[in-house]
Structure formats: structure tokens, C-alpha cells
Amino acid sequence: MNRISKLTRFAVAPLLIVAGLVTLGAADTEARFQSVGHKLMCACGCSQVLLACDHLGCPNLAQETDELRTAVARGDNDTAILTQFQAQYGPTVLAAPWLTKFNIVAWIVPPALLFFGLVGTFFLVRKWRLRTVDLPDIPQDTQSVAIRERIRRDTEL
């Protein structure tokens, strides 16, 4: 009984490994299909990401997803797939611009602005703090002073 059990284990183990590898590959293929599919747009003009296209009766969806599935199954890398799609459907098929030529500007400007903004605000706040000269008095009418006092009293923030 024990011997049979051991034999079964030996027989099953390679099968499990093979099944695991096959499943792993399938999961990997599906994950890649999903990943690349979200880097592409539907080319019908609906302005939606390919795998999020909910356009019923879309003339492009089936063709594009089939081509993508074939390319992923063939083992093409992401760059090759995206290049192929760009050549076939034009640059608008890519869901985000590549880091080439002027397109680099799209990626660089917002983070750069945030960075310089943070640094600038830091130094501005520091400069304000370091200023020791008293500000000149600003004439204020009694009504607005009273209102401000009331606001400050009511809204201790």
C-alpha cells in the first residue's frame, strides 16, 4: 500500500510540475495580454482604452484584440507589439506617448514643475520666515476688523 502510494506520488509529481508550468504560462500570457491591452487604444475613434472599450458592435475591437492575442502568444515583446500596432493604426493607438522627441516633454514637464514648485515654495516660505523687517501697517476699517475677529473666534481652524 505504502509502495503504491510512493509510486503514485512519483507519477503525479512531474504531471503537477508540467501542469503548473503550463498554467503559469497561461496566466503569464493572460497577464501580458491584459497589460499590453491597457497600453493600447481602440482605433475606432471611441477614445477608449482597447480592453475597456464598451462600444457594442465596435468595428475594431475584435480585430485589435485578436491581433494582440496572436502577438502575445507568439512571444513578441511589448515594444514589438506596440510598434506593430503604431505602424498599422497610427500614433493615436498608443494609450500614452513614447519617450521620443517632443513626446518626452509630456512626461517631464509635470513632475519637473512639481519638483521646482516644492523647492520654490520651501525657499519662499523660508525667506518669509527669515524676514525680520516689520510690515507696514495696513489701514483697516473697524467693521472689517470686527468681522475678522468674529471669523477667527467662530472658526478656530
Binding site: S47, G57, L94, P110, T121, V125, S144, I147
Partner: protein, 702 residues
């Protein structure tokens, strides 16, 4: 009825133009004493004093609302009575259309939605003009500026986009083309009006800010007057945006709620600057700082609301929401440039009036956190504007358009969002003017410990932040950071409530819950604001769930099963049905949990609307706090006619909607006036309490 509507619009335009001209002339005379050409016509010619002229302008503004209401009523009436002599009704309604959606016909097309803009604008103006006694002069300036905006929108609906055009050739069709199926959903009856109430509402604080600057109005009274206007407007915009998300999630059927579409972005931009404004005005109220900044923030918010409308209507950017391309874009460009010119000119003339009264005293202070909060909100706004307009720039520079969609926003925008979440937690922990090290230690220890616990505690539950370094997949990392920061912020908020409530409890002897309620009532703005922050954190938690989304698609036969996450979906039946408005194909699906117990039945549908000849999916969703099981009827297999079912498992989505409800509640609380401390103490007085204690309890927690 079309003639009545058309004439109402003409009368509304004339009344608004009179409000603008007479108001401007009267205010100029009252401010400078100069008698111009128009003054001689209006004041000398009509034998009216400048005060009476200003009053007549105000009344004309009020009457313009009545006239615009008549026009809006005429269009809705035409939809209800199937008056197909009106071209707009032919295009956007039909006989079989459900009554509640006949209302939606008002804003389902270009002309109708512009009429809605004009109507809401005159409605806001109506309230402003009725409440003019709050400050007669400032209200007169604001009313005149608002009249200028009214003139623009009423010109649009009177000339290039009139909703009362008759059908060409005079041949009245028997039925209309019907309402876009995407709009035949209950939320669509309230989403656009909410969004428009938000967009249009920013015109009021804008008008007050510009008016206050024009008349060099002293102090912060304009902010005090407009605080509730701004908050209500912000609330409408928030509700409008999230109703749109909920609609997209439940109707569009792609499994998500935000597609970074240019029109979605257009609604988010003024929301971000409006949020920045709501924070930075506190600096002006409290410390007399950032006056110029505040003025420009509200100018930008209004300009962005106009830009959003321009983007939707000009065809400048391609969008799933955009109306048909029309020459109306040129009108908006002119208006946008004109408003910008007026704002810049007024600012340059009066900028010395906006001198700051105090400087910042410490880098570690509430003021400093507000400065950074504003910077991050504006950076988020710029990022969205940049992403929205980059395709147009690319066309100019490179000669071809590129697409800037979700992958770009996720990579660039998500880190900014995370930074914003961090500052949301940090700000309330810092004191005004300066925060001592002792205070920092006291306030930060518990929230930081909570964040650390969550960061470590998430690792065994399948959150893998290191994938950003191994595979380049960012979702897990940002979700992990968001969950940890959320723990930090939530703990900080609850600690604030707890500390304040303990003080009240000590003085009144009532239980902790009642103490929290009293604390909140005594400083509604502060604690309402904390609730809003709490709601925003829940929304961020809901967004983070996206990193763990799963989906599956299969053709299902009777009794066939699909497995996704902890659920087994069994196809019970599939069939067809029909009514006057649409034909439908649907599947009946039973859902079982991992222990085999049936938990619900779902019936995703695919409708085909007869009038518009358009198909539309109807999503079936089983929502729990952990995740949504979101199922769509994707089509039928051409060979077997079996339904193709697509299922999504979307974690934590419910928290987005809960977060919005809490945000609404918090804003509502912040809008309510404070209960005076003395009154609160009297109401909750315990018999043994001495008068001194009552006074002390009244002061506690402020």
C-alpha cells in the same frame, strides 16, 4: 410654445444687458462721480438718481431669471407634449421616452445644456440679488459682473445655439430620434444639473472677488459672504463628479469609473483649484495672508469652468462626452480671453490693495502646510490640463496627434495624489504660526505608529509593494503607500475628535458620543472639515483597490459555471424581452460563495433602443465592502446564441461611494452655523455644575 420660449430668451438677454450697462454706469458714478455718455442717457434722460439706476439694474437681473425660467419651462413643456415642430425635441426625445427622462432632454444636447447654464446662472443671480442687503454695494458689483456672464450665455442661446429652432422645411415628423440610451439612467437625471450647478456656481465667488477688487473693498468680508456660496458650489461639483463616476461605472460597462476622458478632466480641474481656494482663504481669514493668491485662485477656478465647457463644445479635444463640433468654440475663446483680460487689468490696477498683513513665522506651521497643499492641488490641476491639451500641442509641433490616456495619468498623476493624501494628514496636526517639537511628538506618534502597523500588516495579505522594482508594476506599491497613509490620516482625525470630546466630557459629564456631537456643533467648520478629510481618505482607499482588479470573460451555457475570486457564477437562464422603448436580451445568473451558499442572483442585460437604433449594456453588480462582483452581458455567441458574460472583481469600490457620502455630510456640517459655547453648555448642564465650569466647558475644544 417655441415662440414663447424664443421670446423669453430675447427678453432675458435684454434684461441682463440692461443690468450690466445700468449697473456699471451707476456704480461708476457712485465710485468716481464721473458722468459719462451712457450716464447722460440713462440718468439724465430717465431722470433717475444713480442709486435708483442701480436698483433698477438689480430688478432687471431678478426679472432675467423669470424670463429664462419661462424659456426653460417652454423647452421642457415641448419635450413633455412631444412637440416635434422643435428641431431640438426631434433630436433628443421621442413619444415612448419615460417621463422622467423627458426632463433630461433639457441638457442632452448642445442648445438645451447651454439653456440650462443660462438658467442656473440667472438662478444664482436671482438669489444673490434678493440677498443684496448683506452688503448693498458689493452685491451691486457682483450682480453687474454676473450680468456680464449672463449676457454671454444668453447671446449663445439666442444666436448660434438656439434651442427653439423649428424643423427645417416645416414638415413635422411623427416621432423623434429619442434620447441617447446612455442618458436613460436615473442618475443621468441629476448628474448633469449637479455638475452644472457646480460649474455655474463658481461664477458667484468669482463675481464677488472681482467686484471686491474693483472697488478696493477692505478686509475679508467678500470671503465671508462667499464662503457658503463657494462651499455649496464645491459640494455640487463634488456630487456631480461622483454621480458621473457612479453612472459611468454602472452604465458604460467597462468595469471602471474614471477614464481620464478630457471632459471628465475638465470637471476635475475647477474642483482642484476650488479645493485649493477653500483651504487658502482660511489663511486670509485667519492671518490676512495670500490675498493675491486667493483672488487668482477663484479667477482660475471660474476660467477653468469656462475652459471645461469650451473643451466639451468646441471639438478641440476628442472625447466620448463631447457634443458635436460647432462654431460655438470661437464664442467661448473670445469670452475666455475677455474674462482673463478683465481679471488681469483689474488686478494690475488694484494689486497694492492686496498687500499681505503677516508673514509666515515658521516652516512647520499650519500656514506652511496650506501653502504646500495649494501647490500640490495646483500641480495636480496642471498635470491634468497638460495631459488634456498635450495631444493638441503635439499636433502643432509634430504634425500628428498622440493619445494621452490612463497609463500616462496613472504614472504622473498617482504620485501627486499620494502626496496630497500625505499633506491631508499632516496639515491638521500642525498649529497656526508655529508648531513646537513637543507638539509634533505628541500629535505624530500615534498616527505614525498606525501607518507603520498597516504598512507591515498588509504584507502577509498579498500586497507586494516591491513589484515596482522587480516587474515595474506600480499598482501594488501605490496601494500599499495609500493604505499606510490613510491609516495615518484617519488616526490623526479620530485623535482630534477624541481629544476635543474628552475635554467636553470632563466638563459636562455626558458620554463620549454626545461629547463628539457637541464638539462638532460648536466648531462645525473645523470638525465638518475633518469629516470631509475622512471622506476623501475613504475615497483614496477605494481608488487603491483598482490595483487588485480581476476580470474574466466566457460564453456560458445553461448551468455552466464561471469562477472569479471567491465566487462561482452559474448561468440559470438567458432570454429576450421587449417593450415600446427597447428590446432586451438578458441572462439570469446565480452567484454562490466559496462555501457553496447562494448569495444573490444577477441579471445583466443588453438593450437595443428602437428610436435611436443604439445598443446599450445594463450592468449587474453585487457590491460588498470587500469588493464588487460586476457582471456585463457582453453579447451573444454568433454560433450558439449563448450569452457572452464578462465578470469583474473590483475590490473596495464601495468605499468610494461611502467616502463621498461622508464628504457630503462633512460639507453639510461645515455649512451649519456654530452652536454658541454658552448655549451648548446650558443645554448639557449637569445639575451640580457651577457657573465657572459652564464657562470653562464652553471654551474647551475651541
Amino acid at each position: 410654445m417655441p415662440t414663447f420660449g424664443s421670446w423669453s430668451l430675447k427678453i432675458a438677454l435684454v434684461l441682463s444687458a440692461y443690468n450690466l450697462l445700468a449697473g456699471a454706469v451707476a456704480l461708476r458714478m457712485l465710485a468716481t462721480g464721473k458722468r459719462g455718455f451712457l450716464y447722460r442717457i440713462l440718468v439724465d434722460g430717465l431722470h433717475m438718481s444713480p442709486e435708483r439706476l442701480a436698483e433698477s439694474a438689480r430688478r432687471a437681473g431678478i426679472a432675467s431669471f423669470i424670463a429664462t425660467s419661462c424659456a426653460a419651462f417652454a423647452l421642457v413643456w415641448a419635450a413633455f407634449t412631444n412637440d416635434f415642430s422643435v428641431a431640438y425635441i426631434v433630436q433628443h426625445s421621442n413619444r415612448a421616452l419615460d417621463i422622467k427622462y423627458k426632463f433630461a432632454a433639457l441638457w442632452s444636447g448642445q442648445e438645451g445644456s447651454l439653456l440650462l447654464w443660462a438658467w442656473l446662472l440667472t438662478g444664482y443671480g436671482f438669489v444673490l440679488r434678493l440677498r443684496h442687503k448683506v452688503d448693498v454695494t458689493l452685491s451691486a458689483y457682483a450682480s453687474t459682473i454676473l450680468a456680464g456672464i449672463q449676457v454671454f450665455f444668453l447671446m449663445l442661446v439666442n444666436f448660434p445655439a438656439t434651442p427653439f429652432s423649428l424643423v427645417p422645411g416645416g414638415v413635422i415628423p411623427a416621432d423623434g430620434n429619442g434620447l441617447n440610451p446612455l442618458l436613460q439612467y436615473p442618475e443621468m437625471v441629476i448628474h448633469p444639473p449637479m455638475l452644472y450647478l457646480g460649474y455655474v456656481g463658481f461664477a458667484v465667488p468669482f463675481a464677488f472677488a472681482l467686484g471686491a477688487l474693483m472697488m478696493r473693498y477692505p478686509g475679508e468680508k467678500w470671503i465671508h459672504i462667499t464662503r457658503r456660496w463657494t462651499m455649496v458650489t464645491w459640494l455640487f461639483l463634488t456630487v456631480g463628479i461622483f454621480l458621473g463616476m457612479h453612472w459611468a461605472y454602472n452604465v458604460l460597462g467597462w468595469g471602471g469609473y474614471w477614464g481620464w476622458d478630457p471632459v471628465e478632466n475638465a470637471s476635475l480641474m475647477p474642483w482642484l483649484t476650488g479645493t485649493a481656494f477653500l483651504h487658502s482663504v482660511m489663511m486670509q481669514e485667519k492671518r490676512g495672508m495670500m490675498k493675491s493668491w486667493n483672488v487668482w485662485l477663484i479667477f482660475s477656478t471660474f476660467l477653468l469652468a469656462i475652459l471645461g465647457t469650451l473643451l466639451t463644445r468646441s471639438g478641440l479635444v476628442s472625447s466620448v462626452h463631447a457634443f458635436a463640433q460647432s462654431p460655438i468654440g470661437t464664442w467661448f475663446w473670445i469670452f475666455l480671453v475677455l474674462v482673463l483680460a478683465v481679471c488681469t487689468f483689474t488686478y494690475i490696477l488694484n494689486r497694492d490693495h492686496l498687500r499681505t498683513e503677516h508673514r509666515l513665522e515658521s516652516l512647520v506651521s499650519r500656514e506652511s502646510s496650506f501653502a504646500f497643499n495649494n501647490l500640490i492641488l495646483l500641480a495636480a490641476c496642471f498635470t491634468i490640463l497638460w495631459g488634456t491639451l498635450f495631444p493638441v500641442m503635439s499636433e502643432y509641433v509634430q504634425g500628428y496627434r498622440v493619445t494621452v490616456s490612463a497609463p500616462w495619468y496613472n504614472r504622473i498623476g498617482v504620485p501627486v495624489g499620494v502626496l496630497l493624501l500625505f499633506i491631508t494628514g499632516l496639515g491638521p496636526l500642525l498649529a497656526w504660526r508655529s508648531t513646537s517639537m513637543r507638539s509634533i511628538r505628541k500629535n505624530f506618534i500615534i498616527p505614525s505608529a498606525a501607518a507603520l502597523l498597516v504598512a507591515i500588516g498588509l504584507l502577509p495579505f498579498g500586497v507586494k509593494p516591491w513589484t515596482i522594482f522587480t516587474t515595474g508594476e506600480q499598482g501594488n506599491f501605490y496601494a500599499w503607500v495609500t493604505f499606510s497613509l490613510s491609516a495615518f490620516v484617519i488616526t490623526a482625525i479620530f485623535a482630534e475628535f477624541f481629544r476635543g470630546a474628552l475635554v467636553i466630557q470632563r466638563h459636562t459629564g455626558q458620554n463620549l458620543l454626545l461629547s463628539v456631537i457637541q464638539l462638532t456643533r460648536r466648531n462645525t467648520r473645523r470638525y465638518g472639515g475633518y469629516l470631509v478629510h475622512f471622506g476623501v481618505v475613504l475615497i483614496f482607499i477605494g481608488f487603491s483597490g483598482q490595483a487588485f482588479n480581476q476580470s474574466k470573460e466566457m460564453t456560458m451555457n445553461f448551468k455552466q459555471n464561471m469562477y472569479i475570486g471567491p465566487y462561482r457564477i452559474e448561468c440559470e437562464d438567458f432570454s429576450q424581452d421587449s417593450n415600446g422603448n427597447y428590446d432586451t436580451t438578458f441572462a439570469m445568473l446565480n452567484v454562490y460563495n466559496s462555501s457553496g451558499k447562494k448569495i444573490t442572483s444577477l441579471a445583466p442585460e443588453l438593450r437595443f433602443y428602437t428610436a435611436s437604433q443604439q445598443p446599450q449594456t445594463m450592468v449587474a453588480n453585487y457590491s460588498t465592502p470587500a469588493w464588487d462582483l460586476y457582471v456585463i452581458f457582453a453579447g451573444s455567441d454568433p454560433g450558439t446564441n449563448q450569452p457572452v458574460i464578462k465578470a469583474f472583481l473590483n475590490p473596495l469600490v464601495m468605499w468610494i461611494w461611502i467616502g463621498v457620502l461622508i464628504t457630503i455630510l462633512g460639507t453639510g456640517i461645515a455649512l451649519v452655523p456654530n452652536l454658541s459655547a454658552a448655549l451648548a453648555s446650558q443645554r448639557n448642564r449637569v445639575p451640580a455644575m457651577l457657573p465657572d465650569d459652564i464657562v470653562a466647558a464652553g471654551k474647551a475644544g475651541d
